[in-house]
């Protein structure tokens, strides 16, 4: 059924008439635990589009200044996906088949961009599971001096793809693990799984799960009275982790691509100001949640505008090549230098990640606040 909805979104890609705005499509999850992500992505895209339109729009070939417009499920030039990995993965073959550039500012599943298609139209400005997994191991070793990490992963495709990534990362470094346990998204008690890891001598946990399931792990650990360091994928960032997991929420260190806390670059200050101006509920960096959604979407939109400009057209294959031609862009997350190439559809890598934790209800870089 999911696929039906998506097919609907792609129903017919019509070439936009000359002075009409270029339509940027966004498909977000209809329901589920990452619904907040949709809002954040919309905001990031909107702030970027406002900025581009304010300076006159995108120059497309000889037409100067075509405006951009964010639409939901309509005839688009580029499709943005604010979806979990399984749905994003389902879009991939359709996007490739229809030669429609698909920009993923959110889902981290490795095979979304590495999809094996000859003609690959899928790009990403977001974390990538297999890189996050490497980074998690690195971080656990460096920060906690961990030698024997156990994996506690949600039993869904995302969890499974990270199992692969973590095992590969462990194998690459020749480190052994205390084992791998899965839990169901609706499990109330994860104690039996955690007990297995504990008795296998785990000195650190790798956690992969959305915010709800992640909180189940933290609460189960509380009940066991076991407090190992927890290095997590970014699941906790998807919701009110502190409310769900209780005071121990702050023990979870998770990966992020960006934080609006701390010293900001010029771009960072500009974007934060724009956000606060446009959305009254944003009063400071703590209200930009999930920050990665906003940041990824902002940079992804800027890169896409450059790609369209490079292409001189909104024609799918040309826009795709336009991405490859991007030379340099001073972005929010970092300065991108030749971010995309036919072999490289991911703009971010493991060196671009930051580690964060929840302090009260805010995501802050580890160590910034206590």
């Amino acid at each position: 059924m999911k696929r039906l909805l998506i097919t609907l979104a792609l129903a017919a890609v019509l070439p936009a008439a000359a002075q009409e705005p270029i339509k940027i499509g966004l498909v977000t999850a209809l329901s589920g635990q990452s619904a907040r992500a949709g809002e954040a992505l919309t905001r990031g895209l909107q702030v970027a589009i406002d900025e581009i339109n304010a300076r006159g729009g995108v120059r497309v070939g000889n037409q100067s200044g075509r405006k951009l417009e964010l639409v939901r499920r309509d005839d688009e030039a580029t499709l943005f996906g604010g979806l979990d990995s399984p749905v994003a993965l389902a879009i991939v073959p359709i996007a490739n088949e229809n030669k429609l550039p698909f920009m993923d500012p959110w889902a981290a599943g490795t095979p979304i961009t590495k999809n094996g298609a000859k003609d690959n139209y899928v790009f990403r400005v977001s974390a990538v599971d297999e890189l996050v997994d490497k980074a998690m191991l690195q971080y656990a070793q460096k920060t906690f001096n961990a030698r024997n990490c156990g994996m506690i992963l949600v039993n869904n495709p995302w969890g499974e793809s990270n199992e692969k990534g973590l095992r590969a990362a462990l194998a690459e470094k020749g480190v052994k693990s205390a084992g791998m346990e899965k839990f169901e998204p609706n499990d109330i008690d994860v104690v039996p799984q955690l007990s297995r890891l504990k008795s296998a001598g785990a000195d650190c946990l790798f956690l992969v799960g959305n915010v709800g399931p992640s909180s189940q792990v933290v609460k189960s650990l509380d009940r066991m009275g076991w407090m190992p360091p927890i290095v997590s994928h970014w699941g906790p960032a998807g919701g009110r982790f502190t409310e769900l997991a209780g005071p121990s929420a702050k023990n979870v260190h998770f990966v992020q691509t960006y934080s609006f806390f701390g010293k900001q670059s010029a771009v960072g200050e500009k974007v934060l100001k724009a956000l606060m101006a446009k959305y009254p509920d944003i009063k400071g960096p703590g209200d930009v949640t999930p920050a990665v959604g906003v940041a990824n979407a902002y940079d992804a939109m800027m890169l896409t505008a450059l790609a369209i400009q490079n292409a001189g057209s909104t024609d799918g294959p040309k826009v795709r090549d336009g991405y490859y031609k991007i030379d340099r862009y001073d972005g929010l997350i970092k300065t991108y230098t030749k971010p995309f190439s036919p072999q490289q559809h991911d703009a971010l890598n493991e060196n671009d990640y930051v580690w964060a934790q929840f302090i009260d209800n805010q995501i802050v870089p580890v160590g910034v606040k206590q």
């Binding site: 109330i188 104690v191 039996p192 799984q193 297995r196 189940q216 509380d222 076991w226 919701g239 009110r240």
Partner: protein, 289 residues
């Protein structure tokens, strides 16, 4: 490891048992059940969260009003999804209660919100050590409340006038009517009680879990398995089946690993019913032609 798995299993099992008691109560009085009992459980948690967190009421009145609303929902289930079908001898109540559950879940999804929420009870998460195993207060409280409710149900049905009347309805509806017992009212009461049990389970599970619209679905199905395994016809059988189910599930996870939990527990359900078609503690009725 086995110690903590046992504790977990007993905790989980008593929650299954509590929800399954709800199946027992209505089945006992009317030979029907609310198949979507998981939704009733979810409603208990959602109402309690709404009153105690969003509206900031003290916990006890919040929980009490939540349970009252659950009872009303139970009456609605009986009136809308059970009575129209049971009265004409149709078993379509099975599907009708499923339909009502879907409606309840989705209504909550769109009104309560899509995000999971947390209902924290500070006293519930304090932990103690029992026999070298860490246990939270709530983990002790849940089996205690479960057994207390089973005992209360037992007491109510054995000692009070109305409780005995409800048991009488199960055993012989006609004779019960001759005693002056209002049978439709007894069935309504059973549905209210059943949903209150589910709601109580939901409120107690909420601090351990998260509050969201589909928190009850899988749990409700497992509780149904428990009720069926317990034979649906005895409160203690159902509670015992719940404990067994919870412990088996936890032990499989702890000893064999989580990969086997679902496959083995559900296979065991099929095998158990194949060998004992009336559940572990149920008994056959004489086939009459």
């Amino acid at each position: 490891m086995i110690g903590s798995a046992l504790i977990s299993g007993l905790g989980l099992g008593s929650m299954y048992g509590l929800l399954a008691l709800g199946f027992y109560v209505t089945f006992a009085v009317s030979s029907t059940v609310n198949f979507a009992q998981g939704s009733s459980m979810m409603l208990g948690a959602v109402f309690a969260y709404t009153f105690s967190v969003r509206l900031g009421w003290p916990f006890v009145p919040a929980a009490a009003i939540a349970l009252l609303l659950c009872a009303l929902y139970g009456l609605a289930v009986e009136f809308l999804a059970v009575r129209p079908f049971a009265s004409r001898g149709s078993n379509a109540w099975l599907m009708a209660t499923v339909a009502l559950g879907i409606i309840a879940d989705n209504t909550v999804l769109f009104t309560f919100g899509k995000e999971p929420r947390g209902l924290a009870l500070p006293w519930a998460s304090t932990a103690t050590t029992v026999l070298g195993v860490h246990v939270s207060t709530l983990q002790i409280a849940i089996p205690a409340v479960g057994l207390a409710l089973a005992a209360l149900l037992h007491w109510f049905s054995r000692v009070t006038r109305h409780g005995k009347a409800m048991l009488a309805v199960v055993q012989n509806a006609d004779a019960a009517r001759l005693m002056g017992i209002n049978v439709p009212l007894a069935i309504m009461a059973a549905y209210a009680v059943s949903t209150i049990f589910a709601g109580a389970a939901g409120i107690m599970i909420a601090p351990l879990s998260t509050v969201h619209s589909d928190m009850g679905t899988v749990f409700g199905l497992k509780a149904f398995a428990v009720a069926i395994l317990g034979g649906i016809t005895s409160a203690w059988g159902v509670m015992l089946a719940g404990l067994i189910f919870g412990v088996v599930e936890s032990l499989i996870t702890a000893l064999l690993g989580s990969a086997y939990t679902q496959i083995l527990t559900f296979t065991l359900v099929i095998v158990a019913l194949a060998l004992m078609p009336h559940g572990l503690f149920g008994h056959a009725e004489l086939k009459k032609v």
